[in-house]
């Protein structure tokens, strides 16, 4: 008996150890963030692409779809993981997950594909999205269309991981002043054209991507154009030299207004000379911020003289609206924590919305109780003889 118990315990321990080692084994290591590509082809041939970043070693295909930000309807009642019923507007609701596939062709559903890393061809998934683990560098495909078990007619368009998850390019910026140097009292026109940007800020004010401004500086002035896109934040500086006809005033420091960064009002040291000085901006491709009014892009991560505030705190920014179904910055789904309060709130709101139905429900429960209380005494074992 004891030996049997010991053997049993040993087997259990071994299995547990095996399972744990399997669970802890992490072949990819902890390089973060990991990325997978996602291609979703809708019924009207529009294509959504995204590059999903994640910090885990690997996630499931279902997670990839969840994190894309697309609205997905799933049915979990099949017991084989989630069945994808609907993505955005294509598909069925959970009441009948495969409503477009009821036997006779055409059978339309969301077909699930993986991109074969060797052949770069789509491979129809043999498993559901909940059971398929996705490694960094994979590409996942979804296509709405007619098909059968084992394949569908419409494959998603072929896009490689490199195409989907290419590092974002810096914005294309043209920032000029006309004229670039003037004497005090004259005016100049600042002109800028920005492409591939999400936010454009000129001296702390959100501006349109393509615009101009009329400026009349009384002394040499630096104008900053901050441009944000997925590649990061870039600052372009433009110096307008103002030559004074009168004797030079004492040197003044012009505090650059940096939105949000109130604690660090940075003074750009402006030497009181007529000679334009290069602002040391490390890491800039062209190290010559010459007075010839050419813009010098400089990454904010590199130590520039001008302190930058994080863009998220910028008030009033003009956002360049993306075309629909475009790549958006991916955030993990917000994890809500529900407390006792929210449960109570849910219950009270529910009692209100139930209304008449709730009243009838309560009445039926009371009625049942009444039936039981009235009938209870009538059915005793003695009356069994009566039968």
């Amino acid at each position: 008996m004891k030996r049997a118990t010991a053997t049993f315990l040993l087997i259990i321990t071994l299995v547990a150890l095996f399972v744990m080692s399997e669970a802890l084994y992490n072949p990819t290591g902890a390089q973060s963030p990991n990325k997978v590509g996602l291609v979703v082809r809708f019924g009207d041939s529009t294509v959504f692409t995204d590059c999903i970043e994640f910090t885990e070693a690997e996630i499931t295909g279902e997670d990839v779809l969840d994190r894309s930000g697309l609205s997905v309807v799933k049915d979990l009642s099949y017991g084989l993981g989630a069945a994808i019923c609907k993505i955005e507007d294509d598909g069925c609701d959970y009441e009948h997950c495969f409503c477009q596939c009821t036997g006779e062709p055409p059978c339309e559903y969301w077909a699930y594909y993986h991109l074969d890393p060797q052949t770069q061809q789509w491979v129809y998934s043999g498993m559901g999205a909940s059971w398929h683990t996705v490694q960094p560098g994979d590409v996942e495909g979804w296509s709405w269309g007619a098909g059968d078990a084992g394949g569908s007619d419409v494959e998603p368009p072929l896009l490689t991981f490199e195409e989907l998850c290419a590092p974002p390019t810096p914005p294309v910026v043209d920032f000029t002043a006309d004229p670039s140097s003037l004497t005090s009292g004259q005016c100049s026109v600042l002109k800028w054209t920005v492409q591939d940007a999400e936010v454009v800020v000129l001296d702390g004010q959100g501006v349109m991507a393509e615009d101009s401004r009329y400026v009349c500086p009384s002394q040499t002035q630096t104008y900053e154009l901050e441009v944000l896109n997925e590649a990061g934040q870039f600052t372009y500086e433009l110096i307008i030299n103002v030559s004074q006809p009168t004797p030079t005033p004492p040197p003044t420091s012009t505090p650059t207004r940096v939105p949000g960064a109130t604690s660090t009002p940075t003074d750009v040291p402006q030497p009181p000379t007529r000679v334009p000085t290069a602002i040391p901006s490390l890491g800039s491709p062209s190290p010559s911020p010459s007075p010839s009014a050419t813009s010098t892009p400089s990454r904010t991560s590199s130590p520039t003289v001008v302190a930058m505030a994080p863009v998220s705190t910028t008030p009033s920014v003009a956002e360049i609206v993306d075309p629909p179904r475009q790549v958006e910055p991916v955030e993990p789904p917000p994890q809500e924590r529900v407390g006792l309060n929210s449960i109570l709130l849910l219950l009270s709101v529910g009692a209100g919305t139930l209304g008449f139905g709730g009243l009838v429900f309560a009445a039926i429960l009371i009625l049942l109780m009444g039936v039981y209380l009235r009938a209870r005494g009538h059915f005793t074992d003695q009356q069994n003889l009566e039968q």
Binding site: E104, R337, L346, F361, L368, V371, A375, D381
Partner: protein, 356 residues
Amino acid sequence: MYHTTTWLLWLIAALLPAMLTRNPLYLIILLLAVAVAYNTIGRLSPVVDSWRLFLKAGLILASFSILFNTLTVHYGETVLFTLPRFTLRIGQVTFLDLGGRITLEALTFGLVSGLSLIVILLIFATFNVLVDHHQLLRSTPAFMYQTAMIASIAIAFVPQMVASLQDIREAQAIRGHRFRGLRDLLPLFVPLLTSGLERAIQLAESMEARGFGSEASPQTGRRRLLHRILIPVALFGLLAGVFWYSYYSSSRWVGALVMLGSLGTLLANLVTIGRGVRRSRYRRELWRRRDTIVSAASMVAIVVIGGFWLLNTEALLFYPYPRVSLPSFNPLIGLVLMATVTPVLTAPQMRNKTDD
């Protein structure tokens, strides 16, 4: 107390909503109604204690459903808390994924599934207690008389064996036999086996003496051949009809026609076979007024629930994902579920006591 047909209708009226809906409000009403029926008229039955076994089994199954669903389903928007994740994986396939996000939605779905399991089990428990098993067997259709006979023998087998085991144990105890271990099982087992065999032979003899297996009006060879051909053909037709109906959604009527035709042929065959079997009844069941009332209430419930299922399925559905919300409540469905307690209200005991 009630006719067997009444109880069968009651069973369908109670089971249909329990199987079709996951709405916790309807399930709660059904659970309470069945519990009331059990705790009143069920008390008259000698096997009243079997309920406890069913309840225990139901609770165990429900707790499995709740645990499994909560731990393995990570879907849902309301996260209660997060547990360390535990994954069992072989190659690319995830076989088990425990822990992680524990959502209120998964918990709700587990609770509702567990509740529906308990309700279904308790309906059967109550039916078991209320219906007379012998009457139930006797009401099997005539063409299945052999099956019914075998079923009745099988049902009687276990209680008979338990009783005879008790007898043998007592007899051996008188002779000084004490049960200490596995080795002491032999003096109990051998008499049980021999007495079982003896009883089987006795049963076979008595069945033969009563003419079991011989046909009352022997069928002609031609007619028997016809039955042998027509029944498989009708069964195959039924299968083909069901397939056609569910696969070719554009021409469902063809499938429906094939189904109906095959069903008709099958029933006609079975009725003709059944006519050859003559049955006598020692005690006839009476159909009383209360049977009519309970059957009518059950039929109304079946029709209403079936109608909702066919025409307005959403009224019966409850699906907590992706964000849990309170279930809807349709007063008509709620009231119709009360059909389950009508046997209590119309029971003769209710009247007798008030007359006293």
